[in-house]
């Protein structure tokens, strides 16, 4: 176990180092940065949904919250280090409260989906109606539909004049993603992670064994939200503006699509799904033959029908089959998504 963990870390580092070196030659770093950020956002939902069995329809809420917290704090503080930290902590704390309300209320499945969806809608509607001059936090005007432009972007910690942007910013985001990925790996290998998977597979059994299921789900939910918050703050720095659209249902929908296409129950799947689909959308956006919403929709339908386990697991089992080794038995990822009522 220990040795395979070490090997995992080494492989991850080598592969990501190669990718970080090679990718900028293929795609411009400006586009690449946002792919990396979306990868992190995908990973955040992949963690709580794929490993915790919590289907959150409102992951965009934490993403948007992270972005807004960063923007508001950056306007008030003017130096980016503390805003970055707040952008991770506040969405995490918000999710902890929300999660506690939901999980101690024994909400599952669709009902969980509705609550997360509704919370996202409330945030969207609230932020969208704060255009008036009375909505101010410190020096930051919330701006409603306008969003908040022109805040301090990421700087070298301690030196608010030394902006990190362009290529350098890409490397910062890529390294951040690698670190988050390694942390998630570590978390899933820990007993906490294995118990989370146990809860996903059979909640009642884990509760009877004596684990506090609600508490563990809440913690996992908060961790996922904190990662989404970090992704949001990075996005705010990239876009140099935050708008209520970050909270939109469309954004939440996309995150779910990334996870499905990439593969649930894997760490890599959501990242690959997010970066791949976001790049596809970018390419589609440059042509006007076919509406790109249509293509995204078709991709989702086709994956649900024909490749419900997603890209990464499918490629994985293909690899194992063709190399001739006996495919390692993977947990049946889709089992937790079966209807439990009715």
């Amino acid at each position: 176990m220990e040795r395979s963990a070490k090997r995992d870390v080494v492989v991850t580092l080598i592969v990501s180092a190669i990718l970080i070196a090679v990718m900028p030659m293929l795609i411009g770093t400006y586009t690449l940065t946002v792919l990396v950020i979306y990868g992190m956002l995908g990973l955040s939902l992949g963690l709580i949904w794929g490993f915790g069995g919590i289907l959150c329809f409102g992951q965009a809420a934490f993403f948007g919250l992270g972005a807004y917290v960063y923007a508001i704090a950056a306007v008030n503080i003017g130096e980016s280090t503390l805003p970055m930290i707040l952008a991770v902590l506040l969405p995490g704390a918000f999710a902890a409260v929300l999660g506690a309300v939901m999980f101690y209320g024994r909400l599952t499945d669709v009902y969980l989906g509705v609550i997360t969806l509704v919370v996202t809608l409330i945030l969207f509607k609230f932020i969208n109606s704060t255009a008036g001059p009375q909505y101010v936090i410190g020096d930051a005007r919330l701006g409603g539909f306008n969003g908040i432009p022109g805040f301090q972007t990421l700087n070298v910690p301690g030196d608010s004049g030394a902006y990190i942007w362009g290529d350098a910013y890409f490397y910062v985001c890529a390294v951040a993603l690698v670190i988050v990925f390694l942390l998630v790996t570590w978390l899933l290998r820990s007993s906490f992670g294995r118990i989370a998977i146990g809860i996903r597979e059979n909640e009642t059994r884990m509760a009877l064994i004596g684990y506090d299921v609600a508490a563990r789900k809440t913690v996992l939910f908060a961790i996922g939200a904190a990662i989404a918050g970090l992704a949001g703050a990075l996005f705010a720095n990239w876009a140099e503006i935050v708008t209520p659209n970050l909270f939109s249902l469309g954004q939440s929908a996309e995150i779910i699509i990334w996870c499905i296409v990439g593969g649930l129950g894997t760490r890599l799947g959501p990242i690959v799904g997010a970066a791949g689909l976001a790049y596809l959308k970018f390419l589609l956006g440059q042509q006007s033959m076919i509406d790109n919403t249509l293509i995204m929709g078709l991709v989702l339908v086709i994956f649900v029908l024909f490749l419900p386990r997603g890209l990464v697991p499918a490629v994985g089992s293909l690899w194992h089959a063709s190399v001739g080794r006996t495919a390692r038995r993977r947990p049946a990822n889709r089992r937790m998504r079966r209807a439990r009522h009715g």
């Binding site: 969208n128 539909f145 306008n146 503006i241 708008t243 659209n245």
Partner: protein, 406 residues
């Protein structure tokens, strides 16, 4: 407004070929004009004709030998009515494509999203839309009407026709918020009273309860700076409740996206507006412009205030470039600050050196049978609101949007 994508592409292709014909005569390097508009999404009624106007203007410039012997090339992005895309594409235009000038932005939200990027990267920026006024920034030129050119004219006219009690319904973002305050100021200046102001997010499309509330207050006049496709339902529901014959309606935005052509004449008749342009203007320049538009796009249905504003903005920039003899930012700004003027489809329009806004004609109009009938014309009105707070000649480093205080 029912321009199909295919027809649009066809028209675009025709224009491109037309523009390419004399290209052999041009110098090797082109002048790059960045265009950034919502040509899809809920603001496309504004953006599509603005995009068409941009192409028309550039095709015309190129057909007349380009600028300084160089061909002008358009680099355009569709921001899909999403404010976040503005800042992304603005960064692309300035950092990647390195354009010589940017024309675009529709909502005030979009302008504020990209204005600082333009300023930081020293890219000359034209905002060709009527707006709430007050932007004071040497890097930007604004060719649309501002509140003193529009609200100050419209409000007394509408109040004279109705009465002193005014109800305001405004879009909930910077344009609506600030315009509502201007309306309040001019209502009070004319001895009236604002009885209530309601703000609506841009996606609200159910105004039933609002219409009931308005009746409870029973004002003499409703002024509605509402924006976008969803808000169009207000005018429908207002008419469906039979209110259009009871309380007069004035608007600072109705019609800039040709809304009066989407509404039936029963729904739209009698709404009072004030703009720089109307298709019904009887001038040789307007006739010629409509002919050119028809030749390029088949009919003149798309032409509206903002399209003409965009066309005039590009022509003013072209004059500036000719006068400066270069496309570099500072000489062009200096050339424009000499008070460059052109005669466009909406009459004479001149740059005001002090504010980088425009002095232009304003027409008070009433909607009648899906047309805008001109009631009264005021010649060459200056942007007094912005002049009161902004002097770029004395203070060229200013970079604020001044807001009216009440």
């Amino acid at each position: 407004m029912s321009l199909k994508r295919r027809e649009f592409l066809g028209a675009g292709a025709a224009l491109t070929t037309a523009a390419l014909l004399p290209s052999a005569a041009f110098a090797a390097d082109t002048i790059k004009l960045g265009s950034i508009l919502d040509t899809s999404g809920i603001f496309d009624a504004y953006g599509k004709p603005m995009d068409q106007a941009t192409r028309l203007a550039i095709a015309e410039i190129n057909a007349n030998g380009g600028l300084l012997g160089r061909e002008v090339e358009i680099i355009d992005y569709d921001t899909q009515s999403d404010m976040a895309l503005y800042s992304q594409y603005a960064q692309k235009l300035t950092r990647q494509d390195r354009v010589d000038v940017v024309h675009g932005g529709i909502l005030s939200a979009s302008r504020e999203a990209i204005r600082q990027t333009m300023r930081k990267t020293d890219t000359l920026y034209f905002y060709n839309v009527q707006y709430e006024g007050g932007v004071c920034d040497r890097n930007i030129f604004v060719t649309g009407v501002t509140p003193t050119q529009q609200v100050e004219v419209l409000v007394p006219y509408a109040m004279k026709k109705s009465g002193p009690k005014v109800y305001i319904l405004a879009a909930d973002y910077n344009y609506g918020q600030i315009t509502a305050r201007w309306i309040q100021k001019f209502v009070e200046d004319n001895g009236g009273e604002v009885v209530a102001t309601d703000f609506f997010p841009l996606d609200v499309s159910d105004f039933g309860s609002t219409i009931t509330k308005i009746q409870q207050v029973s004002p003499d006049l409703v002024v509605a700076p509402l924006v976008g496709g969803a808000h169009l339902s207000f005018f429908r529901q207002w008419a469906a409740a039979g209110m259009n014959t009871k309380i007069p309606l004035a608007s600072t935005t109705m019609g800039v996206g040709n809304e009066h052509k989407v509404l039936t004449s029963a729904e739209g008749d009698g709404i009072m507006v004030a703009y720089n342009y109307s298709q019904e203007l009887d001038t040789p320049e307007n006739k010629a412009f409509k002919e050119k538009w028809k030749a390029a796009y088949g009919d003149t249905n798309g032409i509206h205030e903002l399209a003409v504003s965009t066309y005039q903005g590009i022509m003013l920039w072209a004059e500036g470039v000719k006068k400066a003899g270069t496309v570099d930012r500072d000489p062009v700004i200096e050339a424009l600050e000499t008070g460059v003027s052109i005669v466009g489809p909406a009459g004479n329009i001149a740059i005001d050196p002090q504010t980088h806004h425009a002095t232009l004609d304003v027409h008070i109009m009433e909607v009648e049978d899906q047309k805008m009938k001109v009631v009264e014309t005021l010649n060459q009105v200056a942007p007094v609101d912005t002049q009161a707070v902004c002097n770029l000649q004395e203070n060229p480093d200013d970079n604020t949007q001044y807001e009216i205080e009440i």
